[in-house]
């Protein structure tokens, strides 16, 4: 600091005069601390919403059986695309974009090419949703929502709790010629499943096998276009259905 009287025309003098006049004031430290905290909280919140929405989409696909139908040829793929929860997927993408914007406020992200942070965010969403879909998180919330026991978000589970007309998940209870009976895992109803030479199916189906049947469902019959066995797991369908059937733990034979 110099003790010489400042020339009022210099930039230094002008700035000090503005400061002394009180026209500008220094922002308090808490302003910046709050800004930092809000950024961290916002990032964590966006990350949590991304994982929640993405894992809900995976849960919903398992719950409706749509997850298994791409294996049933072009028609299966069409049903899969049509039954995707597009609004949830769109919302997930919006929050992924928001998360990417927030992450890029941090130096570790903006110092590297954008591709890295985008890949990191997408990988985080995929792994996070996969991890959550391995737990009973959404199933429990789903059950609560069915019993009207969720204070917040119950509508989401109820609105997406739908059945696909061409997909039925069940357990084989009885075999007869060119057909077998299944007990629907969602409704406990019994269905006659008709098969023919064109039905794409494993040859060694047995009683108690759990299967996904692709084909239009009528009142008590299904004309199967394709059948896939699902390996037993510990998934529990909604409470009124006694079967165990885990989202994310299906294996298709």
């Amino acid at each position: 600091m110099t003790n010489q009287p400042a020339d009022p025309k210099t930039l230094r003098a002008k700035i000090l005069a503005t400061i002394e006049s009180g026209k500008i004031v220094m922002r308090p430290r808490w302003h910046f601390v709050l800004h930092g905290i809000l950024l961290i909280v916002g990032t964590i919140l966006a990350a949590a919403i991304v994982i929640y929405l993405a894992s809900f989409a995976v849960f919903n696909l398992h719950n409706t059986g749509a997850w298994f139908v791409p294996g049933f040829g072009f028609r299966g793929l069409r049903v899969f695309v049509m039954s995707l929860p597009w609004l949830i997927i769109l919302l997930s993408l919006v929050f992924i974009a928001l998360l990417e914007i927030l992450v890029n406020k941090y130096s570790f992200a903006y110092r590297k090419p954008l591709l890295y942070s985008v890949m990191g965010v997408v990988l985080f969403a995929v792994l996070g949703s996969f991890a959550i879909s391995q737990t009973s998180f959404h199933r429990l919330l789903h059950e609560q929502a069915r019993r009207q026991g969720l204070l917040f978000g119950g509508g989401l589970y109820r609105n997406y709790d739908r059945r696909l007309k061409s997909v039925t998940m069940g357990e084989i209870t009885q075999f007869t010629t060119n057909q077998f009976r299944i007990r629907d895992l969602r409704s406990d109803d019994e269905f006659e499943v008709f098969i023919d030479d064109d039905t794409n199916r494993p040859q060694d189906l047995q009683i108690s096998d759990r299967v996904v049947i692709f084909g239009n469902r009528a009142t008590s019959t299904i004309h199967a276009e394709g059948i896939r066995r699902i390996a037993p797991g510990n998934f529990r369908p909604p409470r009124r259905f006694p079967m165990r059937f885990p989202p994310g733990q299906f294996e298709i034979n």
Partner: protein
């Protein structure tokens, strides 16, 4: 240790603690640099002086947000960058894209060698002559590198772009300068 010999970061700490008089020293130290940065980056802008004054006032207002463990100059240049970019946007003569493909993919750092074709003085001379014909996104890193003597990391911090992109822009900027120069000298 007397104040004039203290580092920028030490002085910033004093200002943060309420000694606003020493902020004058910051102004003295950076006035010339900021004016040069403004004049080169915003060539032809009539209000460089006012913009630089605004930069210092914003720096004072936000100085408690400065982390004294980091480099003060990069922090101040970042404020100036924002102020100057806003001025260019306001002027509306040069388009500034929010999204730049250069920042998406990784680039090989080795692809850039600052002194490959032209020496520093040559580039500075060319840059002085051709500023008005260079795109904003090439002009700024060239100005920061050649006139402000900042390194890649500082430029990356100031412009908030990857370090590899700084290298790419410097390299392309120099190529453009050469092209502009060659075109202008080959004209009858």
């Amino acid at each position: 240790m007397t104040i004039p010999h203290q580092t920028d970061e030490d002085i910033a700490k004093l200002v943060q603690n309420g000694d606003h008089e020493v902020f004058g020293l910051i102004v003295e130290r950076y006035e010339g640099k900021m004016l040069r940065y403004a004049r080169k980056f915003l060539f032809g802008h009539q209000d460089s002086q006012d913009l630089v004054q605004e930069v210092f006032l914003k720096a004072y207002t936000n100085i408690r947000g400065f982390d004294a463990s980091r480099k003060f100059s990069s922090w101040l240049y970042r404020i100036a960058h924002n102020e100057f970019i806003n001025a260019i946007k306001k002027r509306g003569r040069e388009p500034i894209s929010i999204f730049d493909p250069d920042t998406i993919f990784p680039h090989l750092a080795a692809s850039d060698n600052p002194e490959q074709d032209l020496d520093k003085e040559q580039v500075k001379m060319l840059l002085n002559d051709c500023l008005d014909r260079l795109d904003v996104k090439y002009r700024e890193p060239l100005v920061l590198y050649y006139f402000e003597d900042l390194d890649y990391q500082q430029i990356s911090e100031i412009m908030r772009i990857p370090m590899s992109t700084v290298g790419v822009r410097l390299s392309r900027g120099r190529q453009l300068l050469k092209q502009i120069y060659d075109q202008s000298t080959s004209r009858p």
